[in-house]
C-alpha cells in the first residue's frame, strides 16, 4: 500500500482560537482540503487574504480518484504557483484506441493545438495533486502568507447571518466556535454544509455501478487511453484503461445496476475480471478498488448570502470527460478575485452573484456533456443501444462516424456568453474564440508564453496598439501588457487575438477571461468596461 495514504499531511494541532474567550472572527473559512478547497485558499492567501481551511481528515484522499487534469486547470495552477510539479509528475498522452466487442474499431491522435505552454491534459492521481497543493500552502506559510489548514476540524453546525457566518467545530480535543466573514464550502458531492443549511441538490440519477481498480503492473501497454464498448470480458458493459504515474493503471469497469457491491469489490472477484481483460500472464497488484454510482445534478444557486459553494459540493457530474475537479478549479478561479474585490470594498457585493451566474452556466454545460457521454456509454433503451452499436460498427469502416463515438468529451473551459460582466464585442470580425467571456487562449512569445504574463489582477493587453501603461478606475488598477504580433513568429497570437485586424486591445479579468475588446484604445469605453467587469454597471 502506498505510504502517502497513511502519513498525516496536516496533522491536528491545537489552535489559539480553541482557547479564545469569545469566538474569533476569520476573514475566509474554507471547508474541505480537497483540490478545490486548497486551490481557493492558495488563490486568496497569495493575494494577502486570510484563508483558514478546515478538514475533518488530516491526510490526502484515499485512492487515485480524479486522475485527469485538463489544460485550463493546469493554467490556473500556474497562476497559483504549483502547475510545474503537476506537469513534471503527470503522464501525458495523445493516442487512444476504441474497441467494440472483440475488436479494435479505430485509434486516434488528439493532435492538440500547438503554441500552448501546457498539454491538453495530464493523468495524475488526486493524492499527488493534493500533496502538491499542500506543498504550495506550506511554501506560502513560510513566506508569511495568511493561510492555514486545520486537520481533524469537523464543522458540526453553521449559523448564517447577514454579515458573517458562525461555525461550531469538533476536534479531538473537544469543540470550539469561530466566526467568518465569508465561508466557501468545498466539502464534496455529499457536502455536509449543504445538508446543514437544508439546501437542494437536484438532478438525474444514473442507475449504474462502476468498479474502479488501480493496479500496479509492469506491462508494456503503451501510454494510451483504451476504451472498450461491450467487450468479451465485460459483456454488455464498458471498460477503460488509463495510465497514471508510477506504473499505476486505472481500470474502470461498468457493472450494471443490480449487483452486490460488497461482493464485487472483493479481490477474489475483481482479480479474475482483470485477468480476463489484461491477459493471464500479466502480473499486477491491486492498489485500490472502489465502486461508484453517479448523478448529474447541481444546486439551484451557488451563492447563499455569505456562504459560497464550489466544486462537487455545488455540482456533480459523471466521471466521463474529467469534469469534476477540473470544473471545481474553474469555480474558485472565478470566485476568488471577486471575493477579494468585495472584501476590499472595491466592488459591490452583487459582484458575487455573477459567480453564481457564470459558474451555473459552466456547470450546466458540464452536466449536458457528461450526460450525453453517459447516454452513449450506457444506452438507456433498446433503440439507443441499436443506434450506439450502429455508430461503433460504422466507425470501424468510415471516419464520419468517429466524432459520434462518445466515451467522454474532455473538459474544456466554458465561455461566459451573456455574462453581465462582459462588454459588447467591439473588435470587428475578431476571432470567436477570444470574444468577451472567453478564457484567454495561450500563445507563444518567443521562448515564453502569454498566460504566465497575465497577473492576478486586471490586465490591458494591447497588440500593436497604444494605451496608457496603467489605468485606475474607482480603485481598480489595470496594468498594460504591450505586445506586438512580431513577438510571436508562429503568428498564433495574431490568429487567436486579432484575426484580420491590425491591432487589438483586450481587457482581461484576473481569472484570464476576456471582459472587453476593441481594435484600439478608447478611454471612456475601457473605463466603462472596467466598471462593468466589477459589477458596477
Amino acid at each position: 500500500m502506498n505510504k502517502i495514504f497513511e502519513v498525516p499531511l496536516y496533522p491536528y494541532e491545537r489552535h489559539a482560537d480553541q482557547d479564545a474567550p469569545a469566538p474569533v472572527r476569520r476573514k475566509v473559512v474554507i471547508i474541505g482540503a480537497g483540490p478545490v478547497g486548497l486551490a481557493a485558499a492558495i488563490d486568496l492567501a497569495q493575494q494577502g487574504i486570510e484563508a483558514v481551511v478546515l478538514d475533518d481528515n488530516d491526510k490526502v484522499s484515499f485512492g487515485s480518484r480524479a486522475i485527469c487534469f485538463a489544460k485550463r486547470p493546469l493554467e490556473i495552477l500556474d497562476r497559483l504557483g504549483c502547475g510545474q510539479p503537476m506537469v513534471d509528475k503527470g503522464v501525458q498522452w495523445n493516442l487512444g484506441k476504441v474497441f467494440f466487442d472483440d475488436r479494435q474499431v479505430y485509434d486516434f491522435n488528439l493532435l492538440p493545438e500547438e503554441g500552448h505552454q501546457r498539454p491538453a491534459f495530464i493523468n495524475l492521481q488526486q493524492y499527488y495533486f493534493e500533496e502538491y497543493l499542500v506543498n504550495r500552502v506550506k511554501e506560502l506559510q513560510a513566506e508569511g502568507a495568511p493561510i492555514e489548514i486545520r486537520g481533524r476540524n469537523k464543522v458540526s453546525a453553521i449559523g448564517t447571518h447577514p454579515d458573517h457566518v458562525t461555525l461550531e467545530i469538533d476536534t479531538p480535543e473537544g469543540s470550539y466556535n469561530i466566526e467568518a466573514d465569508w465561508l466557501i464550502a468545498c466539502d464534496g458531492a455529499g457536502s455536509p454544509t449543504r445538508t446543514m443549511l437544508g439546501l437542494d441538490f437536484v438532478g438525474r440519477v444514473f442507475e449504474d455501478n462502476f468498479l474502479i481498480a488501480d493496479v500496479v503492473m509492469d506491462a508494456d501497454f503503451p501510454t494510451e487511453r483504451w476504451f472498450w464498448f461491450d467487450p468479451p470480458f465485460n459483456k454488455g458493459q464498458s471498460a477503460l484503461l488509463h495510465k497514471q504515474p508510477d506504473g499505476v493503471w486505472r481500470i474502470d469497469l461498468q457493472l450494471g445496476w443490480d449487483i452486490d457491491k460488497e461482493r464485487e469489490k472483493r479481490p477474489e472477484n475483481v482479480i479474475p475480471r482483470l485477468k480476463e481483460m489484461l491477459g493471464e500472464d500479466v502480473k499486477f497488484e491491486l492498489e485500490w478498488v472502489s465502486i461508484y454510482t453517479f448523478q448529474c445534478r447541481r444546486m439551484e444557486k451557488f451563492r447563499h448570502g455569505r456562504v459560497l459553494f464550489a466544486g462537487d459540493a455545488a455540482h456533480q457530474v459523471s466521471p466521463f470527460g474529467a469534469r469534476g475537479a477540473n470544473s471545481g478549479l474553474q469555480d474558485t478561479d472565478n470566485l476568488c478575485w471577486k471575493l477579494k474585490l468585495v472584501m476590499e470594498g472595491k466592488a459591490p457585493e452583487s459582484l458575487l452573484d455573477s459567480y453564481d451566474q457564470e459558474r451555473v452556466h459552466g456547470a450546466d454545460e458540464n452536466i449536458l456533456n457528461s450526460s450525453r457521454s453517459t447516454d452513449f456509454i450506457t444506452p438507456k433503451s433498446e433503440m439507443s443501444r441499436v443506434l450506439r452499436d450502429a455508430v461503433l460498427d460504422l466507425s470501424e469502416h468510415h471516419a464520419f462516424a468517429r466524432p459520434l463515438v462518445n466515451s467522454g468529451r474532455l473538459s474544456v473551459p466554458c465561455t461566459y456568453d451573456g455574462s453581465t460582466l462582459n462588454s459588447a464585442d467591439a473588435l470587428q470580425d475578431g476571432p470567436a474564440r477570444t470574444r468577451p467571456g472567453s478564457p484567454c487562449p495561450d500563445a507563444p512569445l518567443g521562448d515564453e508564453f502569454l498566460l504566465p504574463k497575465l497577473a492576478d489582477k486586471f490586465t490591458l493587453l494591447t497588440i500593436d496598439a497604444e494605451a496608457p501603461d496603467v489605468i485606475e478606475e474607482e480603485g481598480i488598477e489595470v496594468t498594460r501588457l504591450a505586445l506586438s504580433v512580431k513577438d510571436d513568429r508562429t503568428m498564433a497570437l495574431k490568429e487567436r487575438y486579432l484575426g484580420d485586424n491590425d491591432s487589438g486591445v483586450y481587457l482581461i479579468r484576473p481569472d484570464q477571461h476576456v471582459a472587453a475588446r476593441r481594435g484600439t484604445y478608447d478611454d471612456n469605453q475601457f473605463r466603462a468596461a472596467i466598471r462593468r467587469a466589477v459589477g458596477k454597471e
Partner: protein, 70 residues
C-alpha cells in the same frame, strides 16, 4: 432553399430504390434489420450534414406537420 428538406418526389427510379431497400433487409433477423436501418440513418444523415435539414427530417419522420402545411 438549400436549408429546406425536400418533401416532394425526388428519387430517380422510385420503384427500383424501394426494391433495393427491401432486398437489403431480405433474410435478416429483426435485430440485424434494426441495425441496418440504424446504420442507414447515420450514413444518410452524414451525407446531408446540415443540422437544419436533419431537424426537419426528424420532424417529418415523426409525422409532425411541416412548416409549409401548418
Amino acid at each position: 432553399m438549400s436549408d429546406q428538406l425536400i418533401l416532394t418526389p425526388n428519387i430517380d427510379g422510385a420503384d427500383d430504390f424501394y426494391a433495393d431497400l427491401l432486398t437489403a433487409h431480405e433474410g435478416l433477423t429483426k435485430a440485424d434489420s434494426d441495425a441496418l436501418n440504424a446504420r442507414l440513418v447515420l450514413v444518410l444523415s452524414n451525407h446531408i450534414g446540415k443540422r437544419a435539414i436533419l431537424k426537419q427530417a426528424l420532424a417529418a419522420a415523426a409525422l409532425q406537420p411541416s412548416e409549409e402545411s401548418k
